[in-house]
Amino acid sequence: MNRHVIGVTVRDRPGVLLRIASLIARRGFNIESLSVAQSETPGQSRTTFVVVGDDPTIEQVQKQLKKLLDVIEVIDHSVAKYVDRELMLIKVRVDNPEERVEIRQVAQDFRARIVDVARSALIFEVTGDEGKLDAFIEQMRPFGIVELIRTGRVALGRTQLDTPEAGVTAGDDPINATNPSTHSAATGRAN
C-alpha cells in the first residue's frame, strides 16, 4: 500500500465535485485528503488528492478519473519530483504567561504565524508538508489543542532544470529539510 498524491485538472462545471466524490465513493477508493481551488486558467480548477492503495488501485483511480468528461488532466505527482504543502489553523490553549512564551518559541521554530490572540488561546497558521504539520500538532498537544482545521495537501510537479540544483526547493523549511523524523511522529493525526 502506497500513498500517492494525484493532481487533477477539472473544468469548472456545476456538479464536477459531485462526479468526483461519487466516483470515489462507488469504486471504494480510499482518499486521505482532497482539496480544490481555481487554477491559473480561467474556467479550470486544480484538485489534489492523497490516495492510499496498491499499484493497480492507484492506476484504476487515475483511469477512472480520466474517464470523467469534465476531467482534463490527471497527474500522479508521486512518480516524479514534486512539492506539496498543506495549511493548518490550530487554536492552542494558553493557561499562563510562561506557557505563552514557550508556545511562541515553538511556533517560531515552525515558522507558524499567530493569526488570532486572546487571553486564553492563540490561533496559529502553519504551512508545510504533512509531517511538519503533524509534528507541530504533537508539540502543541501538551498545552491543549482547542480545535484545528487542515486544508489537505496541494501539490505541483517540479520544473526540470538544467542546473545541478535541479529538484532543490528554494527556501525549504528547516524543519522539513532537516527533520525527517517528524514523518514518523505523525501519529497524532488531527481527526
Binding site: 477539472v10 473544468r11 456545476p14 456538479g15 459531485l18 483511469k63 477512472q64 480520466k66 468528461l69 482534463i72
Partner: protein, 569 residues
Amino acid sequence: MTGSEVVMKMLERHGVEVVFGHPGGAIMPIYDALYDSPVRHVLVRHEQAGAHMADAYYRASGKTGVCFATSGPGATNLVTGLATAMMDSSAVVAITGNVASGLIGTDAFQEADVYGITTPVTKHNFLVKDVRELPRVLAEAFYIASTGRPGPVLVDITKDVQQAVFEGSLDVKIDLPGYQPDVIADEADVAAAAEAVSAARQPVMIIGGGAQSSTDEVVAFAEHTGIPVITTLMGIGAFPPGHPQALGMPGMHGTVTANKSISHCDLILAAGMRFDDRVTGKLSRFAPNATIVHIDIDPAEISKLVKAHVPVHGDVRDVLPRLAAKLERLDIQPWRETLADWKDLFPEKYKNDKPLVSQEVLGMLREATKGAGIVTTEVGQHQMFAARLFPTTRPRSFITSGGLGTMGFGFPAAIGAAMARPGETVVCVAGDGSLQMNIQELATLYKHQLPVVICILNNGVLGMVRQWQEMFHAQRYSEIYLADSNPDFAKLAEAYGIEGHNVFDRADAVKRIDEALAAKKPVLLNFFVYEAEKVFPMVPAGAGIDQVILGDQGPDEAAEAEPREAVKA
C-alpha cells in the same frame, strides 16, 4: 424558436426517427413541440420500459436510442434503464423535463435531483438551466453517447428553458476538452500483441459486446489465424455460433469446452470484453497459464480485474486487421484437436423425459428461425438456456441485459428492437417472473402491431433463485413460487388484443411456434415447462471456472454423481 423546438430540431439533425417516452407536467412543452415534429413517438406505459426500448433500439441498429420522461417519478423510473444501458455500453440519450429553474431545490411538486441521482449510472449527464446552452448540450450528448465506449447520457431540461425563446444558430461547436474518444492503437502495442499471439501454442480469443460492430474483422482474423473463439454473453452473434472455431460462451453457465480451454490455454486474446466476474469466476484460478493480450477502447477496463501482459488501447475494428497483417496462420494443430475432443465429450444435451423442458422449446425456436432472427431475453434460467441453445448467427441480434441483469428488460427490448429493424420478427424469450416486471407494455405492443413473439418459459417459479436454493440453500425454497398466483398469460394477452396460447406439449409447441413466426404480428406463447430444471454446467459463485458442476452436461457415466462433489475447495 422555443427551447422545446430546439430539442426537436436537434433530434432531427441527429437522425432520430423515433423516441420512446411518457409525458408529464414538466416535459409538456417538449411534447407540444413533438406534436408538429416528424419524429415518431412510442407512448410507453412505464418510463423504465421506454429506457429499455431506447437501449435495445441502439443494440439492434447501432443508432443512438432516445427516450423522454418527465421530472421526479418519470425520471427516477428511468434509472434502472440507464444503469442497464451503462453496464452494457449502450448509446442512449435520455431527455427529462425538470421543474422551472426558480423552483429547483425547493422540493417542488414532482421535483427530484435527477442530475445527482443519475450521475453514477450515466456516461455523462447535463442539467440545462439556460436556453443558450441547449443546442450545444444536445449535440454533445449525442456525440458522447455514441463515440468511444458508448453509454447513456441524460439531459435534464428545466421547464422554463423549454419555454424560453432561443435566438441563435443550431450549428454549434462541441466543447469537450477532456474527452478524446478516437483512439488509434499504438503500433508498438499491436506489434507486441502479434509477437505474443504468434508465440502461443494454446491460444483462445474471447470476444465481448465491443465486437458487435466488428463481426467482419473478428471472422477474418479468426479464419486467418485459426484461433479458437469464445463468445461472452454480450458478444453472441459477433462470431457465428456454428463456426468450427467457435467454442461457445465462457463463465458461470458457459460451455465445458470454453471454460476448460481458458483453464488450459497459454494465451488469451481478449477483444472488446471486460472480464466480468460471471465470466472469470474466482480470479486467482482464472487462466493460470495464460499471457493476457487485452484490446479495449476503454483503457480503464484494461488491467482492471485481470492484469494484461500486453495492453492494446484501441478499437477492435481497427486493431484486429492490423494484428492479422502481422500474423501467419498459427501452428496450433494439437490444441485444436484437444478442443475438438472436449467438444465431442461435452456436447449440449438435456433430458426430455418431461412433457416439456425449456431447452427443447429453445431448440425448436432455433430450428424454426435457423438462428437468423432477433432474440431478446429477460434475466434468469431462460436467459442462460437461450444463450447456449438459441444464439443468433448475426451481430446486434442477441439482446440481453448482461451486466446489470435486469429482469423486465427483455420484453420492452423486443419492442425497441422491432422498431429498429422493421420487418424482422423478434423473439422475446421470457420467464413467467421477469415478464411481469414490464408486462404493461403489452399495450404498446398491441398499438404498434409489431412482429414480436413472446415465448414464456413458464415453470411457475423464479427458476434461477430456485436453482440456487436447491443447490446452495438446502432446498429451503424461499419466496420463489409464482404458479399459485400467475395470471393466465394467454388470456391476459387476449385482454390486450394480442393473440395468446397456452402450450403444454411438444407437438403443439412446434405448431404454435411455426404459426407465430409466420404471423408477422404480436403473439404470446405461454409454454408450461418442467419446474425443477436446472442450468448446467454451473460454476458456483466464488469458485474457479475449473471447478464446474457438470450436472446433466457431463459424460454419461458422471451424470449420476452428486453435483456438489465436483466442486473441490
